[in-house]
């Protein structure tokens, strides 16, 4: 038993992690603050991150937040993009985990169709109201 503990400690020491350091918060994952090497992949990741909500911030996307959770989510998005997953699939996965709240781009559904219909209705109503101020064409 004693040997096992000593071996574990040696392993810890060898891996460079001291038991003391375990109390301090983990350093941010590299991909939270660094880009993917492939510009096309990074562009896809960036576009997705800009439409994901930082859940612990207020009114910010994960692309513009210093919160550590936003950093973790950025790292996750970049890892999955680098692994070849599509942005839509990553969004679906995040929604299944955190709910619709996480996406700034709500899908068309029973709860959101009035939202997407509204601009069209507004435009039509506006045209109808504006019509009244024009003189009728003389025949």
């Amino acid at each position: 038993m004693r040997r096992a503990i000593l071996a574990a400690l040696a392993l810890l020491a060898a891996s460079g992690v001291s038991p003391l350091a375990a109390d301090t918060p983990l350093p941010a994952q590299p991909l939270a603050y660094t880009q993917l090497a492939d510009p096309a992949q990074e562009a896809r990741a960036k576009a997705l991150m800009e439409t994901l909500r930082c859940l612990v911030c207020q009114g910010q996307s994960i692309a513009d937040s210093d919160a550590s959770m936003a950093g973790d989510m950025r790292a996750l998005v970049r890892q999955r993009i680098a692994a070849g997953e599509s942005p839509a699939a990553i969004r679906r996965w995040l929604i299944s985990r955190y709910g619709d709240y996480v996406s700034y781009d709500p899908p068309l559904s029973g709860a959101t169709w009035p939202l997407y219909l509204a601009p069209i209705l507004l435009l039509l109503a506006g045209i109808w109201i504006a019509r009244a101020s024009f003189r009728k064409r003389r025949r």
Binding site: Y33, R53, Y104, A111, L122, S133, R135
Partner: protein
């Protein structure tokens, strides 16, 4: 001192009540035709007293505000508000600005500006019919009363605390920035200006006097309010841009939307009031817009404070006052809409006009602006309503860009054509001929961008081409004019429209061509962003008045240019917070934006670098729009003055 401020506030509230009652009585009794001479004299005495009351009310509210600034400046820790929001070790500028960097203080600032504006109306407005003016002042008093009640009942800024603590809790470090000194007051001046415009509309509705004279009396206030809102939004956007440290300048955050909506309404109102003043058309519509603009500024003021909208502006959040605020909102907006619904029948139909005419263009402007306003309003409130039904969802940039973006681009196109169309009636062919150069500019830009860029996204491409066309078209009204004799109002329009083109170009260019570099670098290790090579020279500790920090030294080179940027991380003790201090350098063709991040524990530091081509144009355009507004305002007021001296209308 705090008690003096509270007393001034109470007196001001009582005077506001008096002003409302006097005004209401004057309107009620003065309307009768059978008044005896004696009775008429007493009504005249009543009417005559409304103006002085309004002036004194305004002065008293200003005294209350000065008292609050005084207790903040002297760090009087027996006042609860000072304890909660200030600290004696803070720079003087933020002590003073801290007076309105909190809920109670900002409400007091609002009512002070409202009171002073009311006093200014009472002193300066001499052309409007007396009864309409008195109804206007009564409406002002009614609005002010709600604020006084709210301050005195639910959020007394002068409350004492016992025992007094040794020192205060401090101001949110994000707010310790020159931006705080100017951003809220400018927005509030804008909101108040719109409430004055609304009061004019109420006055005109009550006395049935909706016409060109009313439009001319209201116009300077709308122009002024709109100018201040433009400055406030532009400055707020730049503030967020350099303060938040991720290079974003607009977030479609609910609180931002709350300031954008009054601006959209004011922009529409500004254009429709012109139709009313010059052609006596769009009567009911203009009054309606004044009501909407006021409602939006109330939403801008109160919804932010109610805690319902959670956003980056959360420093304002306090849910306990939510109920009072919602009640006030309901009374204000409901009352305004009810009055409109009841009295709109008395507004006779104004002049109608041809489809192809300046009026037609202005109606299109109003239509599109109102639709954008509706989209922003629905997009902002939809999550609240959905939450009421138990559905949690978020609406952000993707929705607003998709829904409002195309309409905004149509609006820009309409904006290019509108000023080139004649009043009353015009010929479509002739208008098209006048558009030759703007269309050529757009086509040329589009062709050039496609030839050069190749893979540019469609929206920025469209926006840049339209911006080029609009820039040419907005200067076109000056062609063939004697520039020195061109009225200032025309100059104002030209400059403001040009500002929109400039701003739009900045938005499109920076969104299309921004380059981002997020990287961990060790000292001496070069990295590239855009045309720059950036090297971390070193990290050194720095000390400020009430913070300590780390400062990175970055050496950036482009061709022969060498410059040093010093982004910082600042640690504030009260309250304990870390902030990023960005270091930004502007060039004629863009900005280099740098942020210092965390160390990675192995001698390297995270840095965030952006090269943002032409991004400065966004705020330069905003400034041009505001300058245009100011020019118009000066021109209109001066012209009205001259006309009044001649005893007629221009």
């Amino acid at each position: 001192m705090a008690e003096a401020g509270l007393a001034a506030l109470w007196f001001a509230a009582v005077l506001a009540l008096l002003q409302l009652l006097l005004g209401a009585l004057t309107i009620r009794w003065g309307g009768r035709a059978d008044a005896t001479p004696r009775r008429a004299a007493s009504i005249a005495a009543l009417a005559g007293s409304v103006r002085p009351v309004a002036v004194v009310q305004g002065l008293l509210s200003a005294v209350a505000m000065l008292c609050l600034i005084w207790v903040f400046a002297t760090s009087d820790m027996t006042v609860k508000l000072v304890v909660e929001n200030s600290q004696s070790a803070k720079p003087m500028m933020y002590k003073v600005a801290g007076a309105w960097g909190n809920h109670e203080g900002s409400m007091l600032l609002w009512v002070t500006i409202l009171g002073l504006a009311g006093g200014a109306v009472a002193l300066l407005e001499r052309r409007l019919e007396e009864r309409t003016l008195i109804a206007t002042l009564a409406a002002q008093a009614a609005i002010a009363l709600g604020f006084y009640a709210f301050l005195l009942v639910a959020s007394n800024p002068f409350a004492r605390i016992w025992p007094a603590p040794a020192d205060g809790l401090g101001l949110n470090p994000l707010l310790q920035d020159p931006g705080l000194a100017f951003h809220p007051p400018t927005l509030y001046v804008g909101y108040v200006g719109l409430s004055v415009a609304f009061s004019f509309a109420v006055g005109a509705l009550v006395t049935g006097d909706v016409g060109p004279a009313f439009a001319r009396a209201m116009r300077p206030w709308v122009l002024g309010a709109w100018t201040f809102l433009t400055v406030g939004i532009t400055a707020g956007s730049y503030w967020a841009y350099y303060e938040l440290g991720w290079g974003g300048w607009w977030f479609w955050d609910p609180v931002e939307n709350a300031s954008l909506m009054p601006w959209l309404a004011a922009t529409a109102l500004l254009h429709s009031v012109t139709v009313l003043a010059t052609r006596d058309g769009l009567r009911a519509w203009t009054v309606m817009l004044a009501v909407v603009a006021f409602s939006m500024s109330m939403i801008g003021t109160f919804l932010v404070r109610s805690g319902i909208l959670t956003s980056v502006h959360a420093f304002a959040v306090d849910p306990t006052r939510g109920a009072f605020i919602l009640a006030l909102l309901a009374i204000y907006i409901g009352g305004a809409l009810a009055l409109f619904a009841l009295r709109v029948g008395t507004v006779r139909q104004g002049t109608t006009f041809d489809l192809v005419s300046r009026e037609g263009g202005l109606v299109l402007n109003n239509l599109l602006l109102s639709v954008i306003l509706g989209i922003v309003l629905i997009g902002t409130l939809y999550p609240l309503v959905a939450a009421g039904f138990g559905v949690q969802l978020s609406i952000g940039a993707p929705f607003f860009d998709k829904a409002a973006g195309p309409i905004a681009l149509i609006l820009v196109a309409a904006m290019a054509v509108g000023p080139l169309v004649r009043w009353r009636r015009d010929d479509g062919q002739a208008v098209l001929a006048r558009m030759t150069w703007p269309i050529a500019a757009s086509a040329f830009t589009a062709a050039g961008l496609i030839a050069l860029g190749g893979s540019m996204a469609i929206l920025p491409l469209l926006a840049l081409s339209l911006a080029a066309g609009l820039a040419v078209a907005s200067i076109a009204p000056l062609w063939g004019r004697a520039l020195r004799r061109t009225p200032l109002a025309i100059w104002g329009m030209v400059v403001a429209h040009l500002g929109v083109a400039v701003s739009l170009a900045g938005m499109a260019a920076s969104s299309a061509w921004t380059q981002e570099r997020l990287v961990a670098v060790g000292p001496g290790e070069p990295t590239r962003v855009g045309p720059f090579t950036v090297t971390l020279v070193g990290i050194a500790p720095v000390l400020g008045e009430n913070w300590s920090g780390l400062e990175g030294q970055l050496r950036a080179t482009r061709d022969e240019d060498v410059l040093i940027l010093k982004p910082q991380q600042r640690f504030f003790a009260n309250p304990p917070t870390t902030t990023n201090e960005t270091s930004i350098r502007s060039f004629w063709d863009g900005q280099l934006y740098t942020v210092l991040g965390q160390p990675d524990g192995r001698g390297r530091w995270q840095v965030r670098l952006w090269w943002k081509p032409f991004v400065t144009l966004i705020w330069l355009g905003g400034a041009l729009i505001a300058i245009g507004g100011a020019l118009s305002l000066i021109g209109r007021v001066a012209r009205d003055r001259r006309a009044a001296q001649r005893g007629g209308w221009a």
